[in-house]
């Protein structure tokens, strides 16, 4: 497995901030989709209230708020999201920070909140993610999303987000023999999982034929290879593990949360079929968590496009480079398979409210580990889960490992 830096470089520094173990004491998400009747504040409020009620705490207990949001400015003409969400959740005057890392904004928010508790600076920290994407014409939403790639040398030359991932997909097909059918299988699986998730953007199942015959977006990626534009929010509340049981009988332990960066543009990548940020974040996350890949019961990966799910399985270390597609092709990624992937439907079916996605993934893992999701998509006796959130075409990756014990 390729790693950009020596492993030993990190360990000491990373452990310095970690004074204590961190747990998630509550987790909630809104439904994703085109939520015409809800604005950004309404969505944040809904997720926040659900989480606070679940934890049985008062807003007054929360000491610090971190909100992931990619582009309030371009999606709803609203910046200053940190204070805004704190205001709407009735949390003023606590410090409230909005973080941005394109589609990894939510994952980064979690990473920040985790650091705040792990370091001992705060006890009760709320980590939210929110994105309202359907208040602008789709074309403007596309433009806002394209801000996650290099403007001057990619977007300026006609690159689109599906286009960037299509370039990865085409090269991957060339290098490793992946077929379009396998990508379609990823979409079919994610729609199948999503069909059982009442919060999913799409709850319809699709057939392989439908996926394969869908209109092209950026060849070889068609409509069903691409995640939708969704509205949604999610919020989790963190506490030191030592006091977590005051709030819940089923605290979920944060074994590690790691972020890594890479070049924004695809041009400068070592290999466009590998997201080095994912490789680096995963390698470190497993090391800090003292957990082996084989112990993981389910993973939530950033499948903004079907090819991204294939790459994630490899880059997270669950398959060798060039063989991730086989895991998908063989159906091992279904609930009940060897490696259940995206049990909520993934970004493809459950939706991708960009700034909220990273937190929404955490919510799914928490619910799975607590055994609280709908029958049919519940992974039996899930003990350990992993969430993987990516910004842009891989310039940011956040990997978080959660465990029941």
């Amino acid at each position: 497995m390729h790693c950009m830096r020596e492993a030993s470089v990190y360990t000491e520094v990373d452990m310095m901030y970690k004074k204590r173990d961190v747990a998630i004491i509550s987790a909630a998400a809104t439904k994703c989709g085109e939520q015409w009747d809800k604005g950004l504040k309404d969505l944040a409020w809904e997720a926040g209230v659900k989480a606070v009620e679940e934890a049985g705490i008062s807003g007054k207990d929360i000491e610090y708020l971190v909100v992931g949001n990619m582009s309030g400015g371009m999606f709803v003409g609203q910046e200053h999201i940190g204070a805004l969400v704190a205001d709407f959740l009735g949390l003023n005057p606590i410090p409230s920070l909005r973080v941005e890392g394109a589609c990894a904004s939510g994952g980064i928010a979690f990473f920040q909140g985790y650091m705040a508790v792990a370091s001992g600076l705060y006890d009760i920290v709320a980590v939210g993610g929110v994105e309202k994407m359907t208040d602008v014409e789709q074309e403007h939403a596309t433009t806002a999303l394209s801000g996650a790639m290099d403007f001057e040398w990619e977007a300026y030359f006609g690159a689109t987000f599906p286009g960037i991932y299509a370039l990865m997909a085409r090269r991957y097909m060339y290098e490793y023999g992946l077929k379009k059918e396998t990508l379609a299988k990823v979409a079919v699986k994610n729609h199948y999982h999503g069909s059982m998730n009442s919060l999913a953007h799409f709850m319809n199942r699709i057939s392989l034929e439908e996926a394969l015959s869908a209109p092209m977006v950026a060849e070889p990626l068609g409509k069903y290879d691409c995640c939708p534009i969704s509205d949604g929010a999610a919020l989790v509340i963190l506490a030191p593990l030592e006091i977590a049981r005051k709030y819940t009988d089923t605290p979920i332990i944060v074994k590690s949360s790691v972020m890594a960066s890479d070049t924004l543009s695809l041009l400068k990548r070592r290999d466009i079929c590998t997201l080095d940020a994912t490789v680096n974040a995963a390698e470190k996350a497993f090391r800090l968590a003292h957990i082996e890949r084989s112990q993981v019961n389910l993973i939530e990966v950033h499948d903004c496009f079907t090819i991204a799910e294939v790459l994630a399985i490899e880059d997270l270390g669950f398959a060798k480079k060039g063989e991730g597609w086989k895991v998908c092709d063989e159906g091992q990624t279904y609930v009940g398979g060897n490696l259940p992937v995206n049990t909520d439907g993934g970004l493809k079916a459950s939706g991708h409210p960009v700034g909220a996605t990273g937190v929404k993934q955490i919510v799914e893992i928490v619910k799975q580990l607590r055994g609280e999701v709908e029958r049919g998509r519940q992974v039996n006796n899930a003990e350990i889960g992993l969430a993987h959130n990516v910004g842009g075409s891989g310039a940011t990756a956040v990997v978080t490992i959660l465990a029941r014990r």
Partner: protein, 141 residues
């Protein structure tokens, strides 16, 4: 990109018109997009501007069917990662080529085209694109 004011277009125009990148005189590495620091030599590096030959090969490609407004009228168009003969890769459109003809490894050469127009009254952005390399003219003289 209609909100982008003229300086942002102008700042990179030379590099887009002439396929200019940078080169480290210390180690000989070439870079695109142009860099200010050689990642290998760091402080020992000496970065100068360099003009690429414009010859390269397609490293990967896609056919864009759904594009932002600025590029909508050109759809479907071929977007490719082109590996220049000097080594760096550029992202660019492939023109004078049918979507069904493009393939990985195909030799291409630089040409000069419109990248997009803001609207009927706005700025026209020009820059490099690539077309299939054609040396048949050498035998046609």
């Amino acid at each position: 990109m209609s909100h982008i004011a003229p300086p942002a277009h102008w700042r990179r125009a030379k590099e887009r018109y002439r396929l200019l990148g940078s080169k480290c005189e210390n180690c000989g590495s070439t870079f695109f997009p142009p860099t200010k620091v050689c990642p290998k030599c760091r402080r020992k590096g000496r970065i100068v501007q360099t003009e690429f030959s414009g010859k390269g090969k397609i490293y990967s490609y896609t056919i864009i069917h759904s594009a932002p407004k600025m590029f909508e009228k050109y759809t479907p168009y071929i977007l490719a990662l082109v590996e220049l003969e000097e080594g760096p890769k550029v992202m660019s459109q492939i023109v004078d080529c049918k979507p069904e003809e493009v393939k990985i490894g195909m030799a291409v050469e630089v040409c000069f085209r419109k990248l997009f127009e803001q609207d009927g009254e706005g700025i026209i952005s020009y820059g490099f694109k690539f077309r299939p390399a054609d040396n048949s003219w050498k035998s046609l003289q």
